[in-house]
Amino acid sequence: MDFPIISSLIILPTIGALFILFTKSSNSKYQSSKYVALFISLANFILSIYLWLIFDKSSINFQFVENREWLSGFINYKVGVDGISILFILLTTFITPICIISVISTIEHRLKDFLIAILIMETLMIGVFCSLDLVIFYLFFEGGLIPMFLIIGIWGGERRVYSAFKFFLYTLLGSVLMLIAIISIYWISGTTDVEKLYEIGIREQYQKLLWLAFFSSFAVKTPMWPVHTWLPDAHVEAPTVGSVLLAAILLKMAGYGFIRFSVGLFPIASEYFVPLVFALSLIAIIYTSLVALMQEDMKKLIAYSSVAHMGFVTLGIFTMTQQGIEGSIFQMISHGLVSAALFLSVGVVYDRNHTRLIKKYGGLVTVMPKYGVVFMIFALGSLGLPGTSGFIGEFLILMGAFKKSFLVATIASLGVILGAAYILWMYKRVVFGEIIHEQIKSMKDLKKYELLILILLAIPIIFFGFYPEPLINSIEISVTSLIDNYNTNLTQSIAKK
């Protein structure tokens, strides 16, 4: 038995959290907790980089698989990675230290609890991305609700209780149907092991209902129009780091779920529901972009832009083309970085001025020039300027969409223009122009740690914008095998008829 590297990735943050829970920091500043949290999250990042390096990119199988008896006779604890999941693990382990740096320098109120919540969150997220059993996946997927609920509720803004409840109940409602579907799969196919299910497939007559049950959960989490309304509320009320976690990682669980489970397990149903997903995605892209255009609150604007970007992701996945799916994965990674950075940027000015309303700003560039530059990078990344990672993702998705349908691709392209409109308009109103409000003048430019985390985020955004090869390379084989599997299933089904 080899060293259980994936389980260590999962468990390590929890060990850190337990350590923080049971150590008493001598002074009220929780010095030791800070260092432990930072150390653990960095260690986990390095471990995941190591995992990426030793990962065999030319194999279509799941690697580093661990399979242990768990619920005897029924379900095994099975984890492993393929080219797709490894990127999401990297994203998670990369975002977590950034969150921790941001938290320890901005939050004072119950810092210890916050660090524990983030670390537990990291465990659950990594668990989601590498579980190869539906029940295990569900445990991690749903477990994430608990820390997020607390993060929004304890450290959030004025309407935090409403938002926390909305977030929790919405996602729970979506997910219980998925639980029924998972149990049904167990009784239909005799296993919930994803690898085995890929091999034996799920009988055709059940696929559509099961697909819908999974869809109800993922659509809420993505979030897709019309069940996206919890997201703006949650984002606005969550503390900065809560928004970052939510946008960068939590939303990606659903996109990942679509690729791994909806497309992977139910190919026939997926093909059947393509028009539905296309329609909802297009509405999300156009409608929420328009809504974003009219927002007065910066965080709300970015939240709506997330919905639009995730619309691109779902669109890309269901084009069922190599480009589309690769683009979606790329877009998710890119959006994870960009939206995290945007929320952190908003957090920077919010900490100074205690408002997120766009009209309360203006002319920031004269007092905060460095801020103006980094914010610009992220704004451009968000609208998908060539040279940023956002471009590659959207470009690939649109390419995939053109293969499938000219009309869909054209409408989606409109979304790109709208995306540029709302983000640039916001940027213009916040950063450029005359200083109207007195308190802007006293605002200080970026502190060291703020500059550090924003630059850390800017590097991959630009790097992967110019050189996407490492990411594409790692997902290529897995996506090809996914699409092959999809097409064989479809042809078999047509042949039967």
Binding site: W70, L139, L150, G153, F168, L169, L172
Partner: protein, 471 residues
């Protein structure tokens, strides 16, 4: 000569009750001693039962009293939670001045009644056990006799329970009339779906049993009794009678009437759906923690019955696992309630929890775990309880029941979240006292760790429960 060895625990318990009663009468001021002796005797009883666990499927007294794996496991659960109830409530009864010597003895007699119920394989034996446990419970509910609410709850419980016992007895007589026996195995031979008398009998008995586990629509007594009784008795109410009644449910439905499940399945489905929905919706507006937990237990009983509705061994095992995990969660919850003490007064309104997390981080953390687990959020133990039950239900393709059940967990999640919100998001109030006695701390620690760490090794419980095969 019958082999009395297998009912040694019951004999031991009866003798202990008589001895303690005499002892209490002749020795003054012995209530504290008797309390401790009771706890001790329960522990001995637990050990005796564990010793018995290797026996399988024995019966005695003309096949009217069964000692099989179901009975032994349920008795172990009953006595185990009895021990913890005793451990947690010792200080409470002292402060509230109800530490009379009768108190522990009544608890013991009630437990004896439950043991008889669990083992019964005959209508008359079953009724005897039921009445023994109920009579003790009437007195216990009104034990704080200076308190108006407590007296009211005792009376209310007595009147309604007597009514339900009447119905139950009528059902027994109908079944006896149509099947010429009171023994479950003989009833099985003599009955068939066509006999309406037997169907009516089943319905009446189910009404009586549903009353005991407070399933909707026979739940009216629960909120008042839970709120009115002393908290120590509420703890007892919330856990032990449910275990006994559920095992009678299992044996009554699956031994004599396993062939007639088309007759009773709809009733169980109705009871469970009604309980799940009502329990979830009615708890939303509650202000008193004990009342809230009453509604929550109504809902939980709905889930436990869901497993029975499946009509398979898997379903029975699901229900048993459910009740086992449920009792741990409830014991943990009530331990937390016993900790809300300030200046010798116990607080039980939800508002009193406001901002608890500032002053009592560990207590709040346990409550957080317990409440999320009651709501059935993975990866806590409460999720697995629901998981087992719905595994069984979906195996039988009863999708409607599963969907209703899981949707009502979402509604129920709302009121559990509300408590968490009050604990974690609201302004703090005065501190509570922290000098709790060892038994209480121990119970809370053990049960919270069980709930939290259950997912690491879930096979433990399933392996034990999977040996219980009734059909």
């Amino acid at each position: 000569m019958e082999n009395l060895e297998i009912i040694l625990p019951e004999i031991f318990l009866s003798l202990t009750i008589m001895f303690l009663l005499l002892f209490g009468v002749f020795k003054n001021n012995s209530s504290k001693l008797i309390y401790n002796l009771t706890t001790l005797s329960l522990i001995i009883l637990f050990a005796l039962l564990l010793n018995l666990y290797q026996f399988s499927d024995l019966s005695i007294f003309n096949n009217s009293y069964k000692v099989d794996s179901l009975a032994t496991f349920m008795k172990l659960l009953t006595i185990g939670s009895g021990i913890f109830v005793m451990l947690t409530s010792s200080k409470y009864i002292e402060i509230n001045n109800i530490n009379k010597m009768e108190y522990p003895i009544l608890i013991l007699s009630s437990i004896l009644g439950m043991m008889v119920m669990i083992s019964s394989n005959d209508l008359i034996v079953f009724y005897m056990g039921l009445e023994l446990q109920s009579l003790a419970l009437y007195v216990l509910a009104s034990f704080n006799r200076e308190n108006l609410l407590s007296t009211e709850s005792g009376l209310k419980y007595f009147v309604l329970s007597a009514l339900s016992s009447g119905l139950l007895l009528y059902g027994c007589s109908l079944i006896y009339g149509f099947s010429r026996s009171t023994n479950f195995n003989i009833i099985l031979e003599n009955s068939s779906s066509g006999q309406y008398g037997i169907t009516f009998g089943i319905v009446f008995i189910l009404v009586g049993l549903a009353f005991k586990i407070s399933a909707v629509p026979f739940h009216m007594w629960a909120p008042d009794v839970y709120q009115g009784s002393p908290t120590s008795v509420t703890t007892f109410f919330a856990v032990l009678p449910k275990i006994a009644a559920l095992s009678v449910f299992i044996r009554f439905l699956y031994v004599p009437f396993s062939e007639m499940n088309d007759q009773w399945q709809m009733i169980i489905i109705f009871l469970s759906i009604a309980s799940m929905i009502f329990g979830a919706v009615a708890a939303i507006g509650q202000k008193n923690l004990k009342r809230l937990i009453a509604y929550s237990s109504i809902g939980h009983m709905g889930y436990a019955l869901t497993g029975l509705a499946a009509g398979t061994n898997q379903g029975i095992q699901g229900s048993i696992s459910y009740i086992a995990i449920y009792l741990v969660m409830n014991l943990a919850f009530f331990s937390c309630m016993f900790m809300l003490r300030r200046n010798n007064e116990y607080y039980e309104s939800i508002e009193d929890l406001s901002g608890l997390s500032k002053n009592h981080p560990l207590l709040s953390f346990s409550l957080l775990i317990i409440l999320f687990s009651l709501a059935g959020i993975p990866p806590l133990a409460g999720f697995f309880a629901k998981f087992y039950v719905f595994m069984a239900v979906i195996e039988q393709k009863m999708y409607f029941l599963a969907i209703v059940g899981l949707l009502s967990t979402v509604i129920a999640a709302f009121y559990y979240l509300r408590i968490i919100k009050i604990i974690y998001f609201d302004k703090e109030k005065e501190k509570f006292e922290t000098d709790h006695h060892l038994g209480l701390k121990f119970t809370l620690a053990v049960s919270t760790i069980f709930i939290l760490a259950y997912f690491i090794y879930p096979s433990g419980l399933t392996e034990i429960v999977s040996k219980i095969n009734i059909i």
